[in-house]
């Protein structure tokens, strides 16, 4: 386990909110860095933040509970459609729309979690794909609600807090998304260190053992799935509000698979891993696809192979190991 995710370490710090502060500072730093690197492409960064929330959401069920899923985009997409429709229907206040996304995500998460966590292993994986495909098919067919293959457009939320209008350079969208991400990330940092979070990690390791300490496994997994849905719902809501359209891609199998790749890349079972996996993958993809539009997928594939070979437990773990090696050498000298 990496230093950042280990429960034991944080307790020994004198400052009680060290981890939370670290979360805020890191996200602010990433935001500034992103702004400096891509000042003309804030729309890309805004999209990146929405997807990052989905990766964090996936980490909760896959990384912390060991649930294998390839249908996680369903939670994101359903919320995005719900927020889109709410906005078109007259609810234009951004904070309220976030709430709509959270509610839609929580409900979708609870329902799909109730189905998926009944099973283990391959049946679980197949069921998650089936749920994802079902939602994708519905999104395509129910064109009166989703706009079908044309997508749902005309989503124009009010200014944030009544002050900041969503502008064409995506400045407001970017800052708003970044702040929301920071809030969610800090809440999650606390959540995964809670007794409930610890129990989920125990269930992931051995669910019979968890029962043998008196824990009801299934309800816990469904609750975690609902929380995961809420986080995915925030991502979906941001995506709908800031892009102004919701397309079929938001519920697609490719989206589900891609976020799983990002999570594994960064390191599952660790929020920092999810964060960095998402950021690194998407920036790499963005740069490579712009410089080499023909072979970019090949390069992304090569990157993944390299990471699996050299840091099989994810980037965050690889970096932590490297860091401790350097640190130890420095200490001896």
């Amino acid at each position: 386990m990496t230093g950042l995710s280990t429960l034991a370490k944080t307790s020994d710090r004198a400052f009680p909110f060290a981890a939370e502060l670290m979360g805020i500072v890191s996200i602010a730093a990433l935001g500034v860095l992103g702004f400096l690197l891509f000042p003309d492409d804030l729309a890309f960064l805004t999209r990146l933040i929405g997807i990052t929330l989905l990766v964090l959401s996936l980490d909760l069920v896959t990384g912390y509970c060991g649930v294998a899923t390839l249908g996680h985009a369903a939670l994101f997409g359903v919320s995005a459609y719900a927020v889109g429709n709410a906005c078109i229907g007259g609810i234009r206040e951004p904070i309220l729309l976030l709430g709509v996304g959270i509610v839609a995500g929580t409900i979708t998460g609870a329902i799909s979690g109730a189905l998926i966590t009944r099973f283990r292993g391959l049946p679980q994986l197949v069921l998650s794909i089936a749920i994802g495909q079902l939602v994708a098919a519905l999104a395509n067919k129910l064109s009166s609600v989703t706009g079908g293959s044309d997508g749902l457009s005309g989503i124009t939320p009010d200014p944030v807090l009544g002050l900041f209008r969503f502008d064409m350079y995506s400045r407001t969208a970017f800052v708003f998304s970044l702040v929301v991400l920071a809030v969610v990330f800090v809440l999650l940092l606390r959540f995964v260190r809670s007794p409930f979070g610890l129990l989920c990690r125990g269930i992931r390791d051995d669910d019979l053992r968890a029962q043998m300490i008196g824990a009801m496994v299934y309800p816990r997994l469904v609750i975690m799935y609902a929380v995961s849905g809420a986080v995915a719902g925030v991502g979906g809501a941001l995506n709908a509000m800031t892009a102004g359209v919701v397309g079929l891609d938001s519920v697609s199998f490719e989206r589900s698979a891609e976020v799983l790749v990002m999570l594994v890349l960064g390191g599952a079972g660790n929020l920092w891993g999810a964060l960095f996996g998402s950021v690194v993958f998407q920036i790499f993809e963005h740069i490579v696809s712009a410089t080499n539009p023909f072979h970019w997928m090949t390069l992304v594939g090569l990157l993944l192979i390299a990471i699996v070979l050299f840091a099989p437990r994810g980037l965050s773990h690889g970096v932590a190991v490297l860091w401790s090696k350097i640190f130890r050498r420095g200490g001896r000298a």
């Binding site: 429960l7 129990l199 008196g214």
Partner: protein, 254 residues
Amino acid sequence: MTDLLALDKVSRAFGGLRVNENISFRLAPGDRVALIGPNGAGKTTLVNVISGGLPPTSGTLHLEGDDITRLGIPARVRRGLVRTFQVTRLFASLTAADNVALAIMQRKGLTRRFFSVATDMPDVRTEWEHLLGTLGIAHLARITVSQLAYGQQRLLELAIGLALNPKVLLLDEPAAGVPHDEAPKILEAIERLPADIAVLMIEHDMDLVFRFAKRVLVLANGRLIFEGTPQAVTADPDVRRAYLGSYADARRPA
């Protein structure tokens, strides 16, 4: 009712195979009982039936007078019926301390807390420090379970069992697979178990049985064929026959 745990005519069959048949016995507070029997006698099945992993085909189980026959594993654990496993089953990616802390927090109903940090609970911490200290593994608290030696894992398994404040503790071969130099620690820990709990231990090692048990149950071919003192068990003709049979089988050249 002074019986803590009561089994009445408990049977368990897998299809036509009757693994446990008409088993009845009682455990009272403070009991130290060993369950022995040749391989394949149905000992582990019986532990699974008692702990709730397998429902009995017929018969009833009572804990402190309450019928627990239909209760699942977690409900039995919460009533104080706790087991350890023959092969250690621990939370492998968590530290030793977190393994015990989790059991304590679950017992106290703290695992429903979503936003308090697990390590910021001083009373939980005091308790796991005490438990690990009692078993002589306090120095391993911060080590991930997957990196612990097997004997240390068995001690941790005991620590988790104790963290649940058991009234009845089922120990499934607590010393199996433990290296010789570490076995005494396990014995010591078992001998120091709280006096008021009832302990039922499955064990092959007769030395351990004689040292630990005040009463012995012998299971052979799914039936309870003997219940009595350790001194009487070796003299019993049925027991000798059951064991002789299995030893004769074991010694037959392949």
